[in-house]
C-alpha cells in the first residue's frame, strides 16, 4: 500500500514536470512568431525605442498599408501566388500521371524506369551542372524556371505508386470494358478516388513552392520583377538591402513606418497563407508520411 502510494506521488511529480517542460517548448516555439506579429502592428517609430514584447504599444495598421502600397512587394507576392498555384497543379498532375503508369505491373520497361528513378534519389549532378542546364534551356529570368524543373519528383512518385497499388482492380476493369483508354481512366477514375494522396502531395509541394527563395536568387539574374516574395525578403534579410522597404516608407502614408516595421508586416503577410493552410496540412501530413514510409 505504502509502496503504491509513493509511486503515485513520484508519477505525479513526473507528470507535472513533463507538462511544464512541454509548455516551455510550446512557448519557445510560438513566441518568435508572436513577436513578429506584435511588432508588425506597432508604430515603427515607436518600436525603435524597444520593449515591444507582448502587445503593441502604439497600435497601427500603417505597416500593412505600406506593404500594400509598395509595388515591389505586391509584384513579388503576385509571382509567389502564381508560381505556387501553377507549380502545384502541374507537379501533382504530372507526377501522379507518371506514377499511375509506373504503378501498373504490365507496363513494359517498368523495372528499367524504376531503376532510372531510384538512381536520381541517391545521386545528382549538383548545383553547377543544374545551373548550366537551366541556362542552356533559356530558363534564366523566365517564370517557367519555377514550374518546369519542379514539376516532377521521384520521391512523390513513390508515394503515389504505393497509393495506386491499393486501389481495387475492379474500378479499372469496369472503365476498360467501357472502352476508355489509360489516360481517360487516369483522369476520370483514378484521380477522383485518390483525393487524399493528391491533397497530401499538393499541400506539401504548395508549401515548398511558397517558401522557396533560392530559385529566385540563382535563376533570376536580371529581371527582378520575376522574383517571388521570399527572394525579395531574402535580399532584405540576408543582404540587409532595405532600400526597397525605405522607398515604400517614404512614399507611404505616414512617417510612423520604418523599414524594420514594414519588414515585420511583410513577414506576417508572407507567413499568413501557411498558417491558414496549417489545419489542412496537419490533417494530411501524418497520413502522407505513413504512405511514404511503406515503400520509402
Amino acid at each position: 500500500m505504502f509502496a503504491l502510494k509513493r509511486r503515485t506521488r513520484g508519477e505525479a511529480v513526473f507528470d507535472g514536470v513533463n507538462v511544464l517542460l512541454m509548455l516551455v517548448i510550446c512557448f519557445v516555439t510560438i513566441y518568435p512568431v508572436w513577436y513578429v506579429l506584435v511588432n508588425s502592428l506597432n508604430s515603427g517609430q515607436d518600436a525603435m525605442r524597444g520593449g515591444i514584447y507582448w502587445l503593441p504599444r502604439v497600435f497601427t495598421l500603417d505597416n500593412y498599408a505600406a506593404v500594400v502600397d509598395n509595388p515591389g512587394i505586391v509584384t513579388a507576392m503576385g509571382i509567389t501566388v502564381a508560381k505556387t498555384l501553377a507549380g502545384t497543379v502541374l507537379h501533382v498532375f504530372f507526377t501522379a500521371m507518371v506514377a499511375y503508369a509506373f504503378s501498373r505491373r504490365e507496363l513494359i520497361g517498368r523495372n528499367l524506369y524504376m531503376i532510372l528513378g531510384t538512381v536520381t534519389m541517391i545521386f545528382n549532378g549538383g548545383l553547377i551542372p543544374t545551373f548550366l542546364l537551366i541556362r542552356d534551356l533559356q530558363l534564366l529570368d523566365n517564370f517557367f524556371v519555377y514550374i518546369i524543373p519542379a514539376m516532377f519528383s521521384f520521391f512523390d512518385l513513390i508515394i503515389f505508386v504505393s497509393f495506386f497499388r491499393e486501389l481495387p482492380q475492379g474500378l479499372e476493369e469496369a472503365a476498360k470494358i467501357d472502352g476508355a483508354n489509360d489516360l481517360v481512366l487516369f483522369l476520370r477514375v483514378v484521380i477522383p478516388v485518390s483525393l487524399p494522396v493528391v491533397a497530401t502531395i499538393a499541400l506539401f509541394h504548395g508549401v515548398w513552392q511558397w517558401n522557396d527563395y533560392f530559385a529566385g536568387v540563382i535563376y533570376i539574374t536580371q529581371n527582378t520583377e520575376l522574383q517571388p516574395i521570399q527572394t525579395f525578403l531574402y535580399r532584405v534579410v540576408a543582404q540587409n538591402d532595405t532600400s526597397q522597404m525605405v522607398t515604400a516608407a517614404a512614399g507611404g502614408i505616414t512617417k510612423s513606418v520604418t523599414s524594420n516595421s514594414v519588414k515585420m508586416a511583410t513577414m506576417v503577410v508572407t507567413t499568413l497563407p501557411i498558417v491558414l493552410a496549417y489545419p489542412f496540412l496537419q490533417r494530411y501530413f501524418v497520413k502522407g508520411l505513413m504512405i511514404g514510409s511503406i515503400k520509402g
Binding site: E106, P129, P149, K176, T270, Q282, L289, M290
Partner: protein, 323 residues
C-alpha cells in the same frame, strides 16, 4: 469491340503475350500505348533534369567556359581536384562543414527522440495533440522568415542582448551574427528549434505501434515510468532510429544550405563557409564552373560512400536498414 477486348486480355495475361513471340509483344506494346506515353513523359523529364546534369559532371575534368559547349571543352584531367586539395580555404571549409554537421548529429539527432518519448508520456490526449500541433508549425515556415527573426533578435540591439544584459550574463552587447565564434551554435540551435516537433512525428508514429500488452507486462513486473520508456518504448522504435541515423550520417556533408545561405555574412565567413556555400561562391558568383563542379562531385561521392557505409555497418549489427 471484340478486338479491343482481346487486346485487353493480352495486356492482362503476360503468359499468352509471351507465347505469341515478337508479334505478341508488339501487340501488348500497342495496347498499352497510352500507358507508355504517360510513363515516357516522366522518363523524358528525368533524362533532361536529372541525367543531363549528371552528364554535366564531366566538366569537373574539363576546362569549361561559356563559349564552348560541354562536349567541346578541352580536357583538364584532375587539375581542378588538385587545385581544391591545395586551396587555402579547404581546411576552413572542411572544419565548418563537419563541425556543424557533427553538432547537429550529436545534439540534434537525440533531441527529437527524447521529445517524442516525453510527449508520449503525457496523460491528456488533447494536451498531447495541442503540443504536437504547435511544435511542428516552424517546420512549415521558410528559412527566410526565421532568418528575418534571427537577424533582428541577434543584433547588438536585439532581444537576446536585452535579455542577457538584464540577467547580468554579459556586460556589453554582442552582435552575434557578426561574431564568428557564435555561428555554429546559432545554426544548430535554430535548426533544432525549427525541426524538433517535425522530426518527432515519425518516432511518435513508431511508438503508437508498440503493443499495449508490452506495457502491461512491464507494469506487472514492477517497471516504473522511466524503466518502461527505457525497456519498452525505446526498443520499440529502434528500427526507426536506425534508418533515420543512416540518413543523418549520409547527410554529414549536406549542411543545410537554405539555412546557412540566409544567416551567413562577410563577418562570420570564417565559420559559415561550408562546402555548399563554397560551391555557390566559386561556381555562381565567380563563374569558375569546372572548379566548383569538381568540388561538388567530391562531396557527392563522399556522401554516397557515407550512405552505403552507414547502411552496411547497421546491417552487420542486424538493425533495420534502407537497403
Amino acid at each position: 469491340m471484340d478486338a479491343r477486348a482481346e487486346a485487353l486480355e493480352a495486356q492482362r495475361t503476360p503468359a499468352r503475350a509471351r507465347r505469341g513471340g515478337a508479334a505478341g509483344w508488339a501487340r501488348k506494346l500497342l495496347a498499352q500505348r497510352y500507358l507508355q506515353a504517360m510513363a515516357l513523359l516522366g522518363v523524358a523529364w528525368m533524362l533532361v533534369f536529372n541525367y543531363i546534369p549528371m552528364y554535366g559532371l564531366i566538366i569537373a575534368f574539363k576546362e569549361y567556359n561559356i563559349i564552348k559547349s560541354v562536349g567541346e571543352a578541352p580536357w583538364a584531367g584532375l587539375t581542378h581536384f588538385r587545385e581544391f586539395f591545395s586551396d587555402e580555404q579547404l581546411p576552413g571549409v572542411i572544419r565548418n562543414t563537419i563541425g556543424i554537421s557533427l553538432l547537429k548529429l550529436i545534439v540534434g539527432f537525440p533531441l527529437p527522440i527524447l521529445f517524442a518519448l516525453f510527449l508520449n508520456e503525457l496523460r491528456s490526449i488533447r494536451f498531447k495533440k495541442a503540443v504536437q500541433t504547435i511544435s511542428y508549425l516552424p517546420h512549415f515556415l521558410s528559412w527566410v522568415i526565421l532568418g528575418g527573426i534571427l537577424t533582428t533578435w541577434l543584433s547588438d540591439v536585439g532581444v537576446i542582448n536585452k535579455v542577457l544584459l538584464a540577467l547580468g550574463l554579459i556586460r556589453d552587447p554582442v552582435d552575434y551574427l557578426a561574431s564568428p565564434g557564435y555561428f555554429w551554435t546559432i545554426v544548430v540551435s535554430s535548426d533544432i528549434w525549427k525541426e524538433l516537433g517535425w522530426s518527432a512525428i515519425i518516432y511518435l508514429a513508431a511508438m503508437a505501434s508498440v503493443s499495449p500488452e508490452m506495457y502491461e507486462a512491464a507494469t506487472i513486473d514492477g517497471a516504473g515510468r522511466f524503466q518502461k520508456m527505457r525497456y519498452v518504448t525505446l526498443p520499440g522504435i529502434a528500427g526507426t532510429i536506425s534508418i533515420l541515423f543512416i540518413l543523418a550520417v549520409s547527410g554529414l556533408l549536406n549542411s543545410n544550405f537554405d539555412q546557412i545561405f540566409v544567416m551567413r555574412n562577410a563577418l562570420n565567413d570564417s565559420t559559415s563557409n561550408v562546402i555548399d556555400i563554397f560551391v555557390y561562391q566559386t561556381g555562381i558568383s565567380q563563374s569558375r564552373y569546372s572548379y566548383a563542379t569538381a568540388v561538388g562531385l567530391i562531396k557527392s561521392v563522399i556522401t554516397l560512400g557515407l550512405l552505403l557505409g552507414a547502411n552496411g555497418i547497421l546491417k552487420r549489427m542486424n538493425q533495420s536498414t534502407l537497403f
